[in-house]
């Protein structure tokens, strides 16, 4: 189609209103590298193969189902992060009564990484960010009174997938539910763990085998069960823009398909049960277009495997609103953010949705905040009348053009990954991780200088923040309770039976055999999650990540506001001149929380600001972090905490530093730390706490002031 006949007239009119400036000055360059124009017309969508298609039919741009929400709305699926099986169970019963349809289980970090609650390495992680599961007994408490033959259960588990999935299966067996009746999803997406969240146990090769084993077991025995949920969410949370999220997620998907085919399965045996999980951020139209583009691309990518079943190339997805977009400052604003993001997911055509609670930047969700979060979806579904029309934005010039842009940009990256030999190889090369980190550093810089507005954080700040709602904490007794139950189980089970079952599992790991199948007898015999993981680790080894850090991205995005940056650089140089070396900072992440975006962005930005920055390995204990601080003789340790471990881990670090004679080393803390805990931390000896959303120049300024006070005055 050619230009609209009156386009030039409109252009003249517009430029007149802009006092002669070209309308091109209204273009917006998105973080994805897309140039968005102020106006789209029919010309922009003419001839596109992604436009004017039908829902439920290839290429599925308008939705995987023919009737979409007009037939049945998306599933409201709220993920619960309670610490014990008992609490979670009580929450499930309440949520089901309040209109929730499926269950979603989040596990604590120790469980993710295959450690039992009594393992010394995870003392600070038990019950944080999810439920602690040590054996099938905990699973039975978790699902007590919940009919597993009727309820679809989704489990966010990637590392310890074998013991957890086996535990779920055995808990169902003991309820009298057979394997084929089970429905739900296990995340089981290990590739993205190497990219962002680091909750893996084994190296990539054995991990891919575990996935194939699970797919193969389930396709035979659990036909209603989704064996993998290919997740972009964590990439977005790690700072990936929407094009990166799309490209890397779909490339992960292709890699799993190839692995399953390689292990002898037919594509139609498992592909219909693949599901996806996307993160939805504040870029409203972008993420609507992202979901549409992802469906188009998946259909295109799957065609290389020649599936016969149409469902094999149909992308179905769960979505979650962004955690990164939530602010600690003026937190009720988060309700509005979450609502917008939820709308974006809905208009993009998601199959199920989790909406975050507004207090998640502050603490664990409470009954109150969880209710608001759930009602956000219910109100959209039942009050707003948006469900009546399928893909209501289909045909919008802008949405269709943006969909096409994302398709093209993501395809380029997917091609690049293909040329590296697929996603597993690309991950080895470090390419995807670097791209995400670069995107994250740029985003942080845009926020720090206010070009990305966040209300309450870098604009319209409140002079006085008070918290007038309850903040929930993990009870300190969780670990003791779990340990007591482990001891009880170990005392009452048949030791020889356990030993034999574990030996058989190790044997299967070594010489082949389906690992999920081999784990079932061990679970029935009451082997613990840790024991089952160890039985495989003895063959596979535990994976150790290489941490690489980019430098320069932060300061290059900061060129617009050089004053603040230069002022800090001058101060670090002054420090060097007076102290004989630059201020030296160790950034560390203790505990099993593997989100390393924050700490890497900090590391690279601080180096750009003239600090010498030591990075600690992931998953450190306080004693290990202290040893490193002492040996490297740093001035400051910055402890990053995102998973509620700060109240035990950070004071422990300070104690360990003292033990080694490092009492003068300043300790600062950053991350998701509820303001009610600040005083506790200050009393424990923490010099400063930087909550979520603290601009890096601010935290650097405050850290430097602490140093200057100590050393330069």
């Amino acid at each position: 189609m050619s230009q609209h006949p009156d386009y030039t007239k409109w252009q003249a009119l517009a430029e007149k209103q802009m006092k002669g400036k070209s309308i091109d000055t209204l273009n917006w360059n998105t973080p994805e590298g897309i140039t968005v124009k102020p106006l789209y017309t029919a010309e922009d969508v003419a001839g596109l193969d992604s436009v004017n298609t039908l829902p439920g039919m290839a290429p599925y741009v308008r939705g995987p189902m023919a009737t979409m929400y007009a037939g049945r709305p998306w599933t409201i699926r709220q993920y619960a992060g309670f610490s014990t099986a008992k609490e979670s169970n009580a929450f499930y019963h309440k949520a089901l009564a309040a209109g929730q349809k499926g269950l979603s289980v989040a596990f604590d970090l120790a469980t993710h990484r295959g450690y039992d609650s009594d393992h010394p390495r995870v003392a600070g992680d038990i019950g944080k960010a999810g439920v602690a599961i040590d054996s099938v007994e905990d699973m039975k408490i978790l699902f007590d009174g919940i009919p597993l033959d009727k309820m679809s259960v989704s489990m966010t588990m990637n590392g310890a997938v074998i013991p957890i999935l086996a535990g779920y299966i055995v808990a169902a067996e003991e309820q009298g539910v057979s394997h084929d009746q089970l429905s739900g999803t296990i995340q089981n997406d290990i590739l993205k763990e190497y990219l962002t969240r680091n909750t893996y146990i084994y190296p990539p090769t054995p991990s891919m085998r575990i996935i194939s084993d699970i797919m193969s077991f389930c396709s035979k025995n659990m036909p209603k069960y989704n064996t993998i949920s290919i997740s972009g969410y964590h990439m977005m949370e790690a700072g990936a823009n929407s094009v990166l999220q799309t490209a890397f997620t779909l490339a992960d998907g292709v890699e799993y398909v190839k692995a399953a085919i390689k292990s002898g399965m037919d594509v139609d045996e498992f592909a219909p049960r693949l599901s996806f999980f996307f993160g939805i951020g504040m870029n409203f139209f972008m993420d609507i277009a992202m979901l549409r583009a992802a469906r188009f691309l998946w259909h295109r990518l799957m065609s290389q495997f020649n599936p016969k079943n149409v469902k094999s190339s149909m992308l179905r997805t769960h979505c979650q609103t962004s955690g990164w977009s939530l602010t600690e400052q003026d937190p009720y604003n988060n309700v509005i953010r979450t609502t917008l993001e939820a709308m974006s997911a809905v208009l993009g055509g998601t199959q199920s949705l989790h909406t975050n609670s507004f207090d998640e930047a502050i603490g664990l969700p409470t009954d109150f905040s969880a209710r608001i979060a759930r009602n956000t979806q219910i109100i959209i579904q039942e009050e707003s009348q948006v469900c009546n029309v399928i893909d209501p934005l289909g045909g919008s010039y802008y949405i269709e053009a943006l969909t096409k842009e994302i398709i093209d940009e993501a395809q380029k990256i997917i091609d690049e990954i293909e040329s590296l030999g697929g996603m597993a190889k690309a991950i080895e090369s470090g390419m995807p991780k670097m791209r995400i980190e670069e995107s994250a550093a740029r985003k942080q810089a845009r926020i720090d200088q206010g070009s990305d507005v966040i209300v309450g954080v870098n604009k319209y700040k409140l002079a006085d923040e008070t918290i007038d709602f309850e903040v929930r904490e993990v009870p300190a007794t969780v670990r003791d309770e779990q340990i007591a139950r482990i001891e009880q189980i170990k005392a009452s089970r048949d030791k020889d039976l356990v030993a034999k079952a574990l030996a058989d599992l190790t044997e299967a790991a070594k010489n082949g055999g389906n690992l999920l199948e081999a784990a079932l007898p061990a679970v029935r015999a009451r082997a613990t999650v840790g024991e089952i993981s160890d039985a495989m680790e003895s063959v596979f080894g535990r994976f150790v990540a290489t941490t690489r850090c980019i430098s320069g991205a932060y300061s290059s995005e900061c060129e617009a506001k050089p004053d603040v940056i230069n002022a800090i650089k001058q101060r670090t140089t002054k420090f060097l001149e007076s102290q004989g070396r630059r201020p030296r900072l160790l950034v560390t992440k203790m505990g099993q929380d593997g989100h390393d975006r924050g700490f890497k962005v900090v590391a690279s930005a601080y180096a750009d600001l003239g600090f010498d920055v030591d990075i600690s390995p992931m998953f450190q204990t306080p004693a290990e972090a202290a040893k490193m601080a002492i040996e490297n003789d740093v001035h400051v340790v910055g402890a990053s905490s995102l998973a509620a471990g700060h109240k035990s881990l950070i004071p422990a670090l300070i104690e360990e530093l003292k033990k080694l004679g490092g009492q003068e080393i300043i300790v600062v803390a950053g991350g998701v730390i509820p303001p009610v805990d600040y005083d506790f931390l200050f009393e424990a000896g923490v010099a400063a706490v930087f909550g979520p959303g603290t601009p890096i120049p601010d935290s650097a300024d405050r850290t430097l002031s602490l140093l200057e006070k100590k050393y330069l005055s």
Binding site: T572, T573, G580, R581, F611, I615, G661
Partner: protein, 325 residues
């Protein structure tokens, strides 16, 4: 912390990690007062030094040096050794700050009680690397570390500086496509006591073997520095800890032979002499440039040379004449 050298010395001799770390900070400091104190400390430590196996490791970025040290160092601690690792990190950004990430690739060794790892930003001059690393090595020896490993990236000149302070210099290589010798300087091969082809695992084994033959051929063309040692070419996988043991045996064998032939002491004495000369030159240079008259005259002379008002020779003569007085 402390003010007197004796306090530092007794802390180090008692094996206190914190004191050793603080001493290294003094050694690395750019402040003359710190350097002077450091020199005093090192002087007093000297009788307690010299008893370690000193190993230098170089290789191109990504060759796997840190991973190698992780697995090599862990093996040594299992044998009962105490291992100090000095990692010189050249990655300084424009603003001068560095990201020091070595320990993330030495995760096990970093938390090992029998190991001490110190990554250093190499901001500053190359001469600085030489002086600082040597003194740090001595301090580690005095603290009871009986193997000292120095990691340096094989770009620039730091590797020859490191080679001149260790007993055994190991060059880590990876088999790549095309010309194996590309990118590595002949000078490095000349000072190597062994070449190790790393990452000999998975589908890389054959390529590693091929590279090994090529390096063997290349080394044949070089005259060995000692009649008692022709540098071997070995393969290993740092990631899977294969071939690491053999390398340690090679290092011990080298040491035995050198002790037997008397070259061990000769080499260390020569290194000490070399160091003195180095310090002398370094000191002279500093002394010269910090001379107030020089500082006053120099800027003007520089300008004059640029404007062709004076010849470089004449300018240098005038400056040097100041020192004769």
């Amino acid at each position: 912390m402390f003010t007197s050298a004796t306090d530092y010395v007794s802390g180090i001799l008692a094996g206190d990690r914190r004191t050793l770390a603080r001493t290294i900070t003094l050694i690395e400091s750019v402040l003359p007062a710190h350097q002077e104190l450091a020199r005093k400390i090192v002087d007093q430590l000297l009788p307690h030094t010299g008893k370690s196996v000193r190993i230098g490791i170089t290789g191109v970025p990504g060759a796997g040096k840190s991973t190698y040290i992780e697995s090599f160092g862990t093996m040594l601690t299992e044998k009962g050794h105490r291992v100090a690792v000095l990692a010189i990190d050249p990655s300084s950004t424009r603003s001068g700050g560095s990201i020091l990430g070595d320990k993330t690739r030495m995760e096990k060794l970093a938390v090992n009680d029998r190991a001490f790892i110190r990554p250093s930003p190499s901001s500053g001059t190359l001469g600085g690397v030489g002086r600082k690393t040597r003194e740090t090595m001595l301090a580690c020896e005095a603290a009871g570390y009986d193997v000292v490993i120095i990691e340096t990236v094989g770009v620039g000149q730091s590797e020859t500086t490191v080679a001149s302070m260790v007993d055994f210099f190991l060059v880590l290589m990876i088999a790549g496509a095309g010309d194996e010798l590309q990118g590595i300087k002949k000078g490095v091969l000349e000072v190597a006591d062994a070449i190790v082809i790393n990452k000999a695992d998975g589908d890389n084994i054959n390529r590693a073997k091929m590279a090994r033959r090529e390096y063997e051929a290349a080394l044949h063309m070089l005259m060995p520095a000692s009649a008692n040692w022709s540098p071997p070419v070995l393969t290993c996988s740092s990631l899977f800890s294969e071939g690491i043991e053999t390398i340690w045996e090679t290092i011990l064998d080298h040491k035995q032979r050198f002790i037997k032939s008397g070259e061990f002491d000769v080499k260390r004495r020569e290194q000490a002499l070399e160091w003195m000369h180095f310090l002398l030159e370094d000191g002279l240079r500093t002394w010269f440039y910090t001379n107030p008259e020089v500082a006053q005259l120099l800027p003007g002379l520089k300008k004059d040379i640029a404007q062709l008002k004076i010849s470089p020779t004449a300018a240098a003569d005038r400056l040097l004449a100041l020192l004769k007085r």
